[in-house]
């Protein structure tokens, strides 16, 4: 190959657009002196939309840079879902930050940089590129976690996130080196072949890589950071992380898993066994731990662990040839549904959040009692939250139900009945703790008369998310077809 691989760079346009948007925002902080910063969320939103459109319109370029990254329908789907997350969370952030007088270009720039990392992660088909993408994503989200350093919680959260994140990166990197040692390549596609296919070295390497990714998707027992980080981070950041990081990490996991499946022998077996155990533990403990939480934000954090468990069921189901397309499409659909749902839910949490006064931390800012009587104070907000909670619980006719249906269908199709039964039984626990919030909103008298933060941009985000969740639940077929097309190319 001579000269600059122009075609390959051009194929990375979505990543570049996101980075460009971020740089624009950084520059705007330098050159625009106006204290009004409402435009920043707008720039972020436009960047996200342009990225999504460019990804969707330009025909996928296939493998680039010698197969280290792959632009295909799968990565396009992931890119669009991540952009959806960026757009929704930017709208939520606008309202939330404005109310706290904390709108800065850096915030949105970091969001876009993180998104660039996520999109790249969805494209990567090489362990090193994946590592770089993870670092771009993670460094941005560490900083975002500490964006509002008022009180103890955010600092603790960011610090914890960074330390544990560094460990997970180390695991991933070490695992990659072992895989390289075993197979002589860092490409996913080389994982099943090569000199050491089936050797213990490869098994250990895959195990370490799986652990590293398990950190990122917050699978039990690698979830310990999740509740503290999710609770400590500014609420819109939590929303963005819960949706975006999960989507990107699952895209990576799906690609690696599929590559490990194409070969015969030890690699595929060990990898799917690890993931099966992780899925079981994650579903059971994620739901059990969410059960006693009184802080709604913390409850949603644990519930996001539980949802990682359901997604893992989807990934594991892909090991059976016959269920593979259902499983992958199911995971993609679930991620899209989850993105809108979880950002919406966190947006409501953010709208109700108690604010710090005089530099002092608010006491129990996300307590269940803050939701009491919401149906009277603000019926639309309560309705939106109800839709999100029902979707998270998997009650029809919502996007969350279709996602669960799809994933469990894959599990049944792959004859993984124990996994499916565990998943469906633990989702009953989910119904219990999600319902508790609805009970407070609709059936308990209001505790205080504190006003709710509801700006136009937040209303826009909530309206969009509700529409997305409802439409996917009732008329989800077009998206299902896209997800099927996206999963077909990686098989």
């Amino acid at each position: 190959m001579n000269g600059l691989p122009v075609r390959d760079f051009a194929a990375l346009a979505p990543v570049a657009i996101l980075a460009l948007g971020a740089l624009t925002l950084l520059m705007s902080e330098v050159f625009l002196t106006s204290p009004r910063r409402g435009y920043q969320a707008g720039v972020t939103l436009v960047t996200a939309v342009v990225t999504a459109v460019s990804a969707a319109v330009v025909p996928p370029a296939g493998p680039i840079f010698g197969g280290q990254a792959t632009i295909d329908a799968f990565s396009v789907f992931v890119t669009v879902v991540i952009c959806l997350g960026v757009g929704l969370s930017a709208l939520v952030s606008a309202g939330w930050l404005h109310a706290r007088d904390a709108e800065r270009g850096e915030y949105y720039a970091l969001t876009l940089f993180a998104a660039a990392g996520m999109v790249l992660l969805g494209m990567s088909s090489d362990l090193l590129v994946a590592f770089i993408a993870i670092e771009i994503m993670s460094l941005s989200t560490y900083s975002l976690t500490a964006y509002q350093r008022r009180g103890r919680r955010p600092s603790e959260a960011a610090f914890k996130y960074m330390i544990l994140g560094a460990i997970s990166s180390a695991l991933l990197l070490y695992g990659s080196s072992l895989i390289y040692g075993a197979t002589g390549t860092t490409l996913f596609s080389g994982m099943h072949g090569g000199r050491g296919a089936g050797s213990m070295l490869l098994v250990a390497g895959l195990g370490l890589v799986a652990s590293g990714i398990a950190f990122k998707v917050a699978a039990v027992p690698f979830h310990a950071w999740t509740p503290d980080v999710y609770e400590g981070a500014p609420t819109p950041v939590t929303a963005f992380m819960a949706a975006g990081v999960k989507t990107a990490a699952f895209a990576l996991l799906a690609r690696i898993f599929l590559s490990s499946q194409t070969g015969a022998g030890v690699a595929d077996l060990s990898f799917s066994r690890i993931l099966t155990v992780l899925a079981l533990l994650t579903m059971i403990f994620g739901n059990l731990l969410a059960l006693p939480q009184r802080s709604v934000k913390r409850m949603l954090a644990y519930s996001s662990v539980a949802h990682a468990g359901y997604l893992l069921v989807g990934v594991v189901s892909a090991k059976v040839e016959g269920a593979r397309s259902i499983a992958l499409a199911g995971v993609l659909f679930y991620l899209a549904a989850y993105t809108a749902t979880v950002i919406g839910a966190f947006a409501v949490v953010g709208a109700l959040e108690a604010r710090a006064r005089d530099g002092e931390e608010a006491r129990r800012p996300w307590d269940l009692d803050r939701f009491s009587g919401l149906a009277r104070k603000s019926p639309l907000l309560a309705f939106a939250m109800t839709v999100f909670l029902l979707s998270l619980a998997g009650v029809p006719p919502t996007a969350g139900f279709m996602g669960k249906l799809y994933i469990f269908k894959a599990a049944v199709g792959a004859d993984l009945i124990p996994l499916a039964v565990t998943g469906i039984l633990t989702s009953i626990l989910g119904a219990f703790y999600y319902l508790r919030v609805i009970v407070h909103m609709y059936m308990k008298p209001a505790a205080g008369e504190e006003p709710v933060v509801a700006t136009t941009s937040m209303a826009l985000a909530l309206g969009g998310a509700v529409a997305f969740v409802a439409v996917l639940g009732i008329l989800g077929d077009p998206l299902i077809r896209l997800a099927q097309a996206a999963s077909a190319v990686v098989m």
Binding site: L405, L425, V439, M443, D477, R481
Partner: protein, 523 residues
């Protein structure tokens, strides 16, 4: 436009329209809801008169089959057989009555209340109409949310406990059904369509047993069968009158309907295995529910436990699997909807007057409220199955059908169940006696208004149905007959496949051949 689809979604359209009316206009909300439920009822009459009940007619009528989410095999497939038709009619009749009954009882958050009721109506009709397993499941779960809100927002003191218990019980029981549906999908040629699943399902005997249990659990909780009934007394007692009426009138029928439509015909071999269990639990439920009713001090709780007993009869009739007992079960589903619905309406009227449900607070009311007392007595007589009322026809068919059926120890079960009839008469008549007769012990009972015109309009349709269905059961039995015959036939085929001597139908061939009841015969 398919009439069934219109009937199904008209209430939902009403709910959307209601969302546009300002919150404060309670009167408009009430009126609009009444208009929509009445409109639904009148349209459903088109279904009633358009239904062809002859054996040669297609099994499912008003059928529509459209792709809904074709990429994952889900279709919008609806249609009615006779049993579903009867239950849809029950729903559309009850709804306007229920709306009218809440005119005064619900003064708070009227808009949300009416929206919940309308959404619930669509979900209920949809559940009966669905012929696609996922569509069915969606409607089935959709019923939970409005009912959960009805109990939780407009219920009485202990409503939060009751509503969460209701939701968790039913949700937990139905998720396993979802897995079973998914399993069916992969063993019937990859479709969720009910009709195709029924004809093409290929599973081993063991798998069929698990599938039957998964479906059966969801339905048994809804019925509710002993010992899964514990959510019912709480939910019934705490729910507002409208909630109790719909719960008793329609929602409990979802369970028995589910057995009739899904659990039994989809897995006949497995159903034969578990038939003694079903029949046994049903009989225990009959006696247990009746005994529990005896000791209740709360009127609503008493009626709730009587439901456990009455639904036990329906389940016994289903398990007996003879044409007569099945017909009786279908009829008893309607009866229970009408009589117990009416009982809850009456209890609600008493509650509106005295704001208590404790039986001990009442006594000697007959002189003060003669019309209310008369209505209560008529409904009571129907509930205990006095000849001339609808209850008699259903119970008689079930008991005689079970007695003559080939179910193991059917005579014992039928005899024990008959004791339940006697117990039912005792506890209901004791209730009437305590509430309406004797001396007035409580001064507050001395000046109570009798039925208002509105309340008269609420009760009149119920009483008319009680009498008409008691004297002229023919038109109500006719639509059920083809569906019942097909189910019996399905089981006979299953037994032929298994190569075992038949255990469905009645012992005496002559009895089995006799038409279940000549139409229009008076008692």
């Amino acid at each position: 436009m398919n009439l069934l689809t219109v009937v199904t979604f008209l209430p939902l359209a009403g709910a959307v329209l209601l969302a546009l009316i300002p919150r404060d206009e309670a009167g408009q909300h009430r009126a609009a809801t009444l208009v929509f439920t009445l409109l639904t009822f009148f349209l459903s009459l088109g279904l009633w008169f358009g239904f062809d009940a002859s054996p040669a007619a297609p099994e499912f009528q008003f059928e529509v089959r459209l792709p809904w989410m074709p990429s994952i095999g889900i279709g919008y497939h609806v249609g009615l057989d006779g049993v579903a038709l009867l239950l849809v009619m029950l729903t559309t009749v009850l709804m306007p009555v229920v709306i009218l009954s809440t005119w005064k009882a619900v003064g708070e958050r009227v808009k949300e209340f009416m929206v919940a009721l309308l959404v619930l109506e669509t979900a209920m009709i949809g559940t009966f109409a669905a012929l696609d397993l996922i569509l069915f499941y969606v409607f089935w779960e959709l019923m939970l949310i409005p009912m959960y809100l009805l109990i939780g927002i407009w219920g009485s003191q202990n409503r939060l406990y009751a509503t969460v218990k209701f939701f968790i019980y039913t949700f937990a029981a139905s998720v396993l059904m979802l897995l079973a549906i998914l399993f069916v999908y992969f063993h019937d040629g990859n479709t969720f369509d009910y009709l195709e699943a029924r004809s093409a399902l290929q599973v081993t005997a063991e798998q069929a047993r698990y599938l039957f249990l998964a479906f059966g659990l969801a339905f048994a909780v809804k019925v509710p069968m002993f010992p899964l009934h514990t959510w019912l007394p709480d939910a019934h007692t705490e729910a507002p009158t409208a909630g109790s009426v719909i719960l008793a009138g329609v929602l409990l029928k979802m369970g028995t309907f589910g057995f009739f439509r899904y659990a039994l015909p989809l897995f006949p071999e497995a159903a034969l295995t578990y038939r003694p269990l079903l029949a046994g639990l049903a009989t225990v439920g009959i006696i247990y529910g009746a005994l529990m009713s005896f000791v209740q001090t709360d009127m609503k709780r008493l009626v709730a436990y009587s439901s456990v007993s009455h639904l036990g009869f329906v389940m016994l009739g289903l398990a007996a699997l003879s044409a007569e007992s099945l017909t009786g079960s279908v009829y008893q589903m309607l009866n229970h909807g009408v009589s117990t619905g009416a009982l809850f309406l009456l209890v609600g009227m008493l509650y509106e007057r005295r704001h208590t449900r404790a039986i001990a607070e009442y006594g000697g009311l007959a002189r003060q409220v003669p019309w209310l007392a008369t209505a209560f007595l008529v409904v009571t007589l129907s509930s205990i199955g006095l000849p001339g009322t609808n209850g008699f026809v259903g119970e008689f068919l079930i008991l005689s059908g079970t007695f003559l059926s080939r179910l193991a120890s059917s005579t014992v079960l039928a005899t024990v169940a008959s004791i339940g009839v006697i117990l039912g008469a005792v506890y209901m008549l004791v209730l009437v006696e305590k509430v309406f007769f004797g001396a007035i012990k409580n001064e507050e009972n001395r000046h109570l208004p009798d039925l208002s015109v509105r309340e008269g309009f609420v009760l009149a349709p119920m009483i008319v149905l009680i009498v008409v269905m008691g004297l002229l059961p023919g038109p109500f039995l006719a639509p059920a007959k083809p569906a019942v015959d097909r189910l019996v036939q399905r089981f006979q085929q299953a037994e032929a496949r298994l190569g075992v001597p038949t255990s469905v139908g009645t012992v005496d061939a002559a009895v089995a051949a006799r038409p279940s009841l000549p139409p229009g015969r008076a008692f």
